[in-house]
């Protein structure tokens, strides 16, 4: 079943994202300092922002890292990750409403459902690469959207799922401030899992596949299976984010499955820096905060701004924030030597 579709080398691709490599080379104390700063910001966030916005940022951070796992570390641009984010949101919502489980279990169920959905979609999508992969994932996500739209008895169609509870062993989490701290450990766990995947032998093989699929295959790695595994793991992490998003909003609408959601996830990653993992977290913070500010100020055409960011980032700022900073730091370090 090995087709020749992706045997041609990707040598013509643009240079692989360099952010990760630069960060990995940073001395140990820099990395620990960054980690400490990151954790401190995460712990402080709901004190500086509206807690509801802080919750959204956490969810989107997971989503972005999931997308970057494919885009930055496997060389696959999924333009249909809303399928996993949204499916998990719906499943989480339904489980929380009907089974009354504590929310972490509902989210886990949602993320598992997303991972299960990622198996057939991933199996079909990894048969193509590059731009075709983007189109195929986009198309399948649209199919999921249509199904949810049509399956009103379950999804309530355009009305959305209302009243998703935040039950957690009798604790009162209705205040977004406390809810933020309730989900923070789950989000950190998800981010740590992504980091672990990237820095595992498995992750190194993924990067090898990204840079030269033909050589990876020649070395005996089952390329399709690796890509599929990465796709499913990514679907699971995106599902974690989507499930938390559903509980956070106590409401699931069709928007979670819309193609604009998939696109937003990709731009969040590009803005933060492809292949930098934590860049996506930064990107999520910026985009979510900006959109909240825009809608708060009564600006109607949010797409105008997100679209504008899209265009500007792609034309002028392809390395993204994290990638640029890492490259700069690298250059400074090189000059000192």
């Amino acid at each position: 079943m090995t087709s020749t579709v992706d045997t041609a080398t990707d040598a013509s691709r643009s240079t692989p994202p360099s952010g990760l490599i630069a960060v990995a080379r940073a001395p140990g104390w820099v990395r620990y300092a960054l980690l400490a700063v990151g954790l401190a910001v995460a712990a402080w966030l709901p004190n500086g922002l509206y807690p509801a916005v802080a919750v959204d940022i956490l969810c989107w951070a997971l989503f972005a890292v999931a997308v970057d796992l494919l885009l930055g570390f496997t060389g696959l641009m999924s333009f249909g990750h809303a399928a996993f984010w949204g499916t998990s949101a719906y499943v989480t919502g339904l489980v929380a409403i009907h089974a009354g489980l504590p929310f972490p279990l509902a989210v886990l169920a949602g993320a598992l459902a997303a991972a299960v959905l990622a198996v057939p979609i991933g199996y079909l999508a990894v048969k193509r690469t590059g731009i075709y992969f983007a189109m195929v994932t986009l198309a399948f996500a649209q199919m999921v959207y249509y199904v949810a739209n049509e399956w009103r008895s379950v999804t309530q169609g355009e009305n959305g799922l209302q009243g998703v509870p935040r039950s957690f062993f009798g604790l009162d989490l209705t205040d977004d401030y406390f809810f933020y701290y309730a989900i923070l450990p789950i989000v950190l766990l998800g981010l740590a899992a992504a980091w672990r995947i990237v820095h595992s032998p498995f992750g190194r093989v993924l990067v090898g596949i990204r840079d030269n699929p033909a050589r990876a295959r020649a070395l005996g790695y089952p390329v399709h299976r690796y890509k599929l595994t990465a796709f499913v793991l990514s679907g699971f992490i995106a599902g974690l984010g989507g499930g938390l998003f559903a509980v956070g909003h106590r409401f699931v609408s069709l928007d979670v499955l819309h193609w604009t959601t998939s696109g937003k996830a990709v731009i969040v990653v590009v803005l933060g820096g492809i292949g930098t993992l934590w860049g996506g977290v930064l990107g999520a913070g910026i985009v979510v905060r900006l959109e909240d500010w825009l809608s708060f100020s009564g600006f109607e055409a949010i797409g105008l701004v997100t679209g504008g960011i899209f265009v500007l980032v792609v034309v002028l700022f392809r390395r993204g924030i994290w990638g640029s900073v890492a490259a700069l730091a690298h250059r400074l370090a090189a000059r000192r030597r």
Binding site: V5, A139, Y146, W259, G263, E300, F310
Partner: protein, 293 residues
Amino acid sequence: MSGFAQNTFNGLVSGAFYALLALGLAVIFGMLRVVNFAHGAFYMLGAFGAYVLLTEAGVPFWAALVIMPVGLGLLGMALERAVIHRLTRLDPLYNFLLTFGLTLILQDLVKLRYGVQSSPYETPSLLSGSVNFGLFDFPTYRVFILGFAVLLCVAVWWVLTRTRIGMVVRASTERPDLTRAFGIDVGRWVTPVFGFGIGLAGLAGVLAAPMRAVNPLMGADLIIVVFAVVVIGGLGSIFGSVAAGFGIGLVQAWGEAYLSAFPIVSQTIVFVVMAGVLLWRPAGLFGREEAPA
């Protein structure tokens, strides 16, 4: 029997829109290696432009049918020069993202000015009424669309295969370096070809105006179906894209008619077909196994 003919006809008409859009995508992809996400937005602009021209300037359908494609084609050329051209040397994913951003911008610009509700566009009087084909009647306008689209596809095919321009374009598409070596300025053709593809999308939009609800979002969902269509046909193959366009139109119409117990079928059947094609012939029905784009 007449029901079957009716469904088949309607399928071919909606297939004509897929085919025109897929044709534009394929031509642009062939020359620039760019998958233009904004293709749906230009289709929408074609329809909206025709509507605005009619309601605000009294410009009739026939004039719009010329003005919009030409105008949008020029806009497309300007766009290619201004931004797209800067990214063609990079991974095609960047241009996909760029045109995605443009889609959001164009959509919201129209939304900001005209709102999201659908606007009606009257069928031109010359094409109102219906044509009788013995057993059944077809709306004249739809017959016109089908005829026009088929004619257009044949014309493009003729230009590409039988004229010197077409030869240059095909050569530049398949072996740009070799073509350059023959002293042909490949770069010269990139911008006009992009404009032409955009013009086709605009034309499809004008054609759609009297038949479909004109609103800012009309192109977005359509373009995703067209992506599935070109994956099925093989984006590298112009013939394949057009054939898949008509084919999917047919399959959708039949599915809608004969599986009406499952309303979801007509919307999702194209994706099911795509899944089947990916299993059976990953490169698309008419595509060649190729280097990753």
